[in-house]
């Protein structure tokens, strides 16, 4: 069986694992907070830019940590635009994303991309790694696992519970004495911190940061969330988080497979958009189909004219 060679599978899984951190961020804003946060496209690049700049200064680890903080800041701006200035959530995200484009360029020293060839990154830092072949996978898996566990426990704390309730029913959260402005701020800061972390890791993994690397990121995150939910279910919180991660890996494998079949890489975004469209319209399509079927059976039973 030579559908895909091992190297391709391995690199897809690696990508899937790193992008899964971004998808968990998207999960927090879109699912937990129920807010369509489009900051993601910008905060992903912000993370990558911060990470790349610090790599060139020989500080890859500091790059990762600062990227987290920068992402949290970006998310906070979106949250404040929405809660304090009463701008619609979707527009708040777009505004931050737009502003971030300029900011990212500034962070990158007015260059559109930063190559990291021959730089120290967290993926080639440790010399104790078994074989270099699996180093990237092991490191990113460890990170992803840590993020997932921390996120799981966070969502089970007191503050985590009100965060989840905010997405369900804001009115109730306020009626029980908690400021929804605050929960949204925390949620969006956390979500974008994860997105930026993912961007920071990708930059070091691919050895470059590019100002355009975030385009459509939110859709890729959403696709992973939806694929995960469809295949692996949503019955409880832990399962949902794992589903998002697996969704991200499945997404990368599917993309690699399509590329293998000869799809031009420039079609990637088109495919992502189609996948998300299909997934989002699934309930409506199902409904229409069952309606059609009902009408058909009714018509047959009445021996009547088809409508």
């Amino acid at each position: 069986m030579t559908l895909m060679n091992l190297a391709t599978v391995l690199s897809s899984v690696e990508l899937g694992v790193i992008y899964a951190i971004m998808s968990l961020g998207v999960f927090i804003s879109f699912r937990t907070l129920n807010m369509p946060d489009l900051t993601v496209d910008g905060s992903f690049v912000l993370g990558a830019a911060v990470s790349a700049v610090l790599c060139t200064a020989g500080r890859p680890l500091a790059g990762i940590i600062l990227a987290l903080a920068a992402g949290a800041l970006a998310g906070s701006v979106t949250a404040l635009l929405h809660t304090k200035l009463k701008i619609q959530p979707i527009l708040s995200g777009i505004l931050t994303m737009l502003a971030l484009y300029s900011i990212n360029l500034k962070v990158m020293g007015n260059r559109a991309n930063i190559p990291l060839l021959n730089q120290k990154t967290i993926f080639n830092l440790p010399e104790w790694m078994p074989g270099p072949d699996y180093a990237a996978l092991i490191i990113s898996l460890l990170l992803l696992f840590t993020v997932m566990i921390l996120l799981y426990f966070f969502l089970k704390t007191k503050i985590g519970l009100v965060l989840r309730a905010t997405g369900d029913n804001e009115q109730m959260v306020r009626a029980l004495g908690v400021s929804t402005d605050l929960t949204k701020l925390i949620g969006l800061a956390l979500a974008n911190a994860l997105v930026a972390l993912s961007g920071a890791l990708i930059a070091q993994y691919q050895s470059f940061a590019d100002v355009g690397m975030g385009i459509g990121m939110v859709i890729i995150g959403l696709a992973s969330v939806i694929i995960g939910e469809a295949i692996f279910g949503t019955s409880n919180l832990l399962r949902r988080l794992i589903a998002v991660i697996l969704g991200s890996i499945v997404y990368r494998l599917a993309i690699a497979f399509a590329l293998e079949l000869g799809m031009p890489p420039t079609d990637l975004k088109l495919i992502s958009a189609v996948i998300v469209c299909a997934a989002l319209s699934m309930p409506t399509i199902k409904e229409q189909l069952s309606l059609l079927q009902q009408r058909y059976t009714a018509a047959v039973n009445n021996r009547g004219r088809p409508l």
């Binding site: 007191k158 009626a175 029980l176």
Partner: protein, 264 residues
């Protein structure tokens, strides 16, 4: 306990839709007093409760609760002192979370929300105990999501959440109006039980005149943004639904035949 001084509220001031919902309303409640509120559609009952709970800022006047001036404090801060149940059963709970998680959020009301575990084992035992008070067997379903509950069960759960931790004030806005008569009655009984056991200061809006006289210790009637009748003591004990309806009709000029005010 609660002191409302001359509050007014006008919606959409200055537009063609300008609507005076409250006009210089004053109302004082002693600690443990249970007041029922009646009045026609658009009388300003909900607006009164929404002004007390901070959903709407008032245009003038002041609101003092338990010695604190809350006139200008935001809704979520007031909610630490005020428990609320809304007419719509969907508004009181987070539907995609479990019964235990909903109770945990209510139980944490007014306490700092840190990174401590949302639900501990003793919490769960306490929640089971409290749920048993409802007599709806919800204590067996503590780990089920709220979306699986019926409207009546949700309203009972919301009532429990609103009264947990003994709020200074309990506000009920037709909280049984969207329920089947049998379960509505059950929720009303639970309301009376919780209010009397905890001696909660309570304001309950109802469209049911019979319930208005039957429950609580005082009844006020609102009309066009004002309190037009305030009954308590002997005067209230002697009041009948028929006389109340007559009074309402003579004051408002609205005939109430077959109106839902009469239905029980």
């Amino acid at each position: 306990m609660l002191k409302i001084n001359m509050i007014s509220k006008t919606f959409d001031r200055g537009s063609v839709n300008e609507k005076k919902a409250l006009h210089q309303v004053s109302l004082s409640l002693d600690e443990g007093e249970f007041v029922t509120v009646i009045g026609g559609n658009g009388a300003g009952k909900s607006t009164l409760l929404n002004c007390i709970s901070g959903v709407h800022p008032v245009d003038e006047g002041s609101i003092i609760l338990d010695g604190t001036d809350i006139t200008f404090s935001p809704e979520y801060k007031r909610s630490r002192l005020i428990g609320r149940v809304f007419q719509n059963p969907l508004l009181g709970t987070a539907f995609d979370m479990t019964i235990a998680e909903n109770l945990a959020i209510a139980w944490a009301r007014g306490k700092p929300h840190g990174l401590s575990p949302g639900i501990t084992r003793p919490d769960k035992a306490l929640f089971r105990e409290q749920l048993a008070l409802l007599g709806l067997d919800l204590e067996e379903r503590i780990n089920q999501k709220v979306k699986l509950l019926s409207g009546g069960q949700r309203q009972a759960l919301t009532l429990l959440m609103a009264t947990m931790g003994r709020p200074k004030l309990l506000l009920l806005d037709e909280h049984t109006a969207s329920l089947d008569p049998a379960i509505a009655k059950k929720v009303l009984h639970l309301t009376r039980k919780f209010v009397s056991e905890e001696k909660l200061t309570t304001i309950m809006i109802t469209h049911n005149m019979k319930a208005a006289l039957e429950y609580g210790s005082r009844t006020i009637m609102m009309h066009e943004g004002q309190i037009i009748l305030d009954l308590s003591g002997e005067e209230r004990a002697e009041m009948t639904v028929e006389r109340l309806v007559k009074y309402f009709e003579s004051r408002s000029g609205v005939q109430l035949e077959n109106d839902r005010l009469l239905l029980s």
